[in-house]
């Protein structure tokens, strides 16, 4: 059995594969690097597959917390693992958009699934899941509700600040001036979409475009992004664990 662990900034994911590359279990724990999240994710995945630690032949770790995780045989970056996982699930994929809790990545693949180019956001919360989390807090809703709220918009409202901290002040001012929460939520999604589209333009977007990462579960975000980049976006099944899946595939190949 082969284990892939993806330790992000805000969540930990684990995937277990067998020799035939069949997924035996997946786990997502909503705490990331520096917490017990990785251990819990691995324990959950093992439990679901009815396995114990010694059943694992090889482990590959990826993600922001990969360097400090000492229970893996090998560490590989999340760029390579997302590329590998996405190609496995969608062999026609040429562009992968991954929006995580703390960073955003655009990865371009060639016809054989090899990474041609990639780009990441700079060290800033703009254009990441963190931006949406901050917006959800101001709008007094859960991160899971933000998408539905946004889809009920009736009026276009722009959030012009790129910086998350400035955007927070801007949104508070707009709410104080009577703006509807639904419109603000939609504005927040468009703000992230704008940022990601700008990033994607740096390396160019080619069909088929797929989206991975936790933010891919947000339907409003996917719609805004598709509109901004001018391409249809396919959300991969198991989008949240694509990085861990890629890591597990590397583990099988190792």
């Amino acid at each position: 059995m082969f284990l892939g662990v993806d330790i992000g900034s805000s969540s930990s994911k684990a995937v277990i594969l067998n020799n035939q590359r069949e997924v035996l279990s997946t786990a997502v724990i909503n705490t990331g690097t520096g917490t017990r999240g990785p251990e819990k994710a691995v324990a959950t995945a093992l439990e679901q597959a009815e396995l114990i630690t010694s059943d694992i032949e090889y482990t590959v770790v990826t993600g922001y917390g990969r360097i400090t995780y000492d229970k893996a045989d090998r560490q590989i970056t999340e760029i390579s693992c997302h590329g590998r996982g996405a190609f496995f699930l969608a062999p026609q994929a040429k562009t992968i958009i991954d929006i995580g809790g703390q960073d955003a990545k655009i990865i371009r693949l060639d016809n054989n699934g090899r990474i041609e180019n990639f780009v990441m956001n700079e060290k800033c919360a703009a254009g990441t899941g963190r931006f949406l989390e901050v917006m959800a807090r101001i709008l007094d809703c859960g991160i899971g509700e933000l998408s539905d709220l946004s889809l009920r918009t009736t009026k276009e409202l722009a959030i012009s600040s790129t910086c998350t901290v400035f955007a927070e002040s801007e949104v508070i001012s707009q709410l104080a001036a009577g703006a509807a929460k639904e419109d603000v939520a939609q504005g927040a999604h468009r703000s992230v979409a704008n940022r990601i589209a700008g990033l994607a333009a740096r390396i160019g977007v080619r069909q088929k475009v797929v989206m991975t990462g936790g933010v891919a579960l947000n339907a409003s975000m996917v719609a805004c992004l598709a509109q901004e980049i001018g391409h249809e976006i396919t959300v991969l099944p198991m989008s949240q664990v694509v990085g861990a899946l890629g890591a597990a595939l590397y583990a099988v190949e190792s």
Partner: protein, 376 residues
């Protein structure tokens, strides 16, 4: 090998301890020092006037005082230099020379006079139209003006002989640097990315009269060894500098060697040999006129892209790493132009946005490692 390693360690130590190295240089030579801001300054004149020219390329100090003059969206090298000046860390310098290559450097001249009045400022204006005769004539007149100020400071006249001798020493230094960087390509394990940088950097704080023989001896010892087999990847670096300090450690950890560079604080300083001009002043001015591919020097032909393509091909490198100094307009303006040329030549590019002081390098680590994984 032991001798070589000790020569390397000596220069690395000199680069890692700039103040200590400079104080030692000043004590040994019994000379005072003049600070030279980026990117090009007439170091030969400074030396001929009896001073040690010292390169001021920022540092890793926390910014507190400099915020008064240079906000967080200004070049981090200039913020660092201003901070250190305001903290009194440059008080031992007899003067500083600030050339006006970019908007920040232009503004900093006025700031310095108010913020660091205890360290005399010598501003220097370089001609935008550097290649035409009027530009060369103008630059010669600037050199002569700066020379007079330096003479007043030192009380020592710069003679034709002292200037010629200083220029010859600097030409020898530049030649030795070119030989070293050309040779280092073949020894990427002994002269890894970090070591290469430190050896180059040590020259900023040493008397060239002492540095050059040390470097030449290092090259002699190196050339006695067989070429090293290297399993990692070789890259060309371009930008202002390969800092913060931990950046090249990440290269070494990922088995990445710097085969050649187009960095403002490294090869751009020495890659051009003086080839024309009748007087020393003209030779100095022509070196500026003939320099190509530098974002800080107006280049109507935009030669940087081809220069980078050639560097990659000549050194058999696997790709280019762009060390983009945050908020450096001249470098940012060049990027889309040479990026297009590199892409047309199918050269993989890694773009890293850097500042001199970065608290976390984890994102850079992921980018470098991903780039290497992508290269296969």
């Amino acid at each position: 090998m032991k001798h070589l390693l000790s020569l390397i360690a000596e220069l690395e130590t000199a680069a890692l301890n700039p103040i200590k190295t400079l104080k030692k240089t000043m004590d040994t030579s019994k000379k005072s020092a003049v600070g030279c801001f980026p990117y090009y300054t007439p170091d030969e004149l400074v030396y001929a006037a009896g001073f040690i020219p010292v390169g001021l390329w920022g540092g890793q100090t926390d910014i507190k005082l400099a915020d008064t003059y240079l906000q967080s969206f200004c070049c981090s090298i200039m913020r660092e230099n201003m901070e250190q000046g305001m903290r009194g860390q440059y008080d031992f310098l007899s003067a500083i020379i600030i050339p006006t290559y970019c908007d920040t450097l232009k503004c900093i001249c006025e700031n310095w006079k108010v913020a660091v009045p205890q360290v005399p400022l010598i501003p220097m204006v370089y001609p935008q139209n550097r290649k035409i005769q009027a530009g060369i004539d103008y630059l010669v007149s600037e050199y002569k003006r700066v020379q007079e100020i330096l003479e007043d400071l030192s009380g020592e006249k710069v003679t034709e002989e002292s200037l010629a001798s200083s220029f010859a020493l600097y030409e020898e230094y530049r030649k030795a640097m070119r030989e070293f960087t050309a040779m280092a390509v073949h020894y990427p394990i002994t002269i890894n990315a970090k070591t290469r940088q430190l050896i180059i950097k040590a020259a900023y704080f040493m008397d060239k009269k002492d540095y050059v023989p040390q470097l030449q001896e290092l090259c002699r010892s190196l050339s006695a060894l067989p070429y090293e087999k290297f399993a990692g990847k070789k890259v060309v670096m371009t930008g202002i500098m390969a800092e913060p300090a931990g950046l090249l450690d990440i290269f070494v950890q990922n088995n990445v060697a710097v085969a050649a560079d187009d960095l403002a604080d490294s090869s751009r300083q020495f890659r051009l040999e003086s080839s024309r001009g009748n007087t020393v002043y003209e030779k100095m001015a022509c070196r500026i006129a003939d320099q190509c591919g530098c974002s800080l020097l107006f280049d109507a032909e935009k030669e940087r892209g081809q220069l980078l393509v050639d560097l990659v091909k000549d050194t058999g490198s696997d790709g280019i790493v762009v060390a983009m100094m945050k908020f450096c307009d001249p470098e940012e303006f060049d990027y889309p132009i040479y990026k297009k040329e590199l892409e047309a030549a199918n050269i993989p590019i890694l773009y890293l946005e850097i500042e001199q002081k970065m608290d976390s390098l984890e994102q850079i680590r992921t980018r470098v490692q991903s780039f290497i994984e992508m290269l296969g």
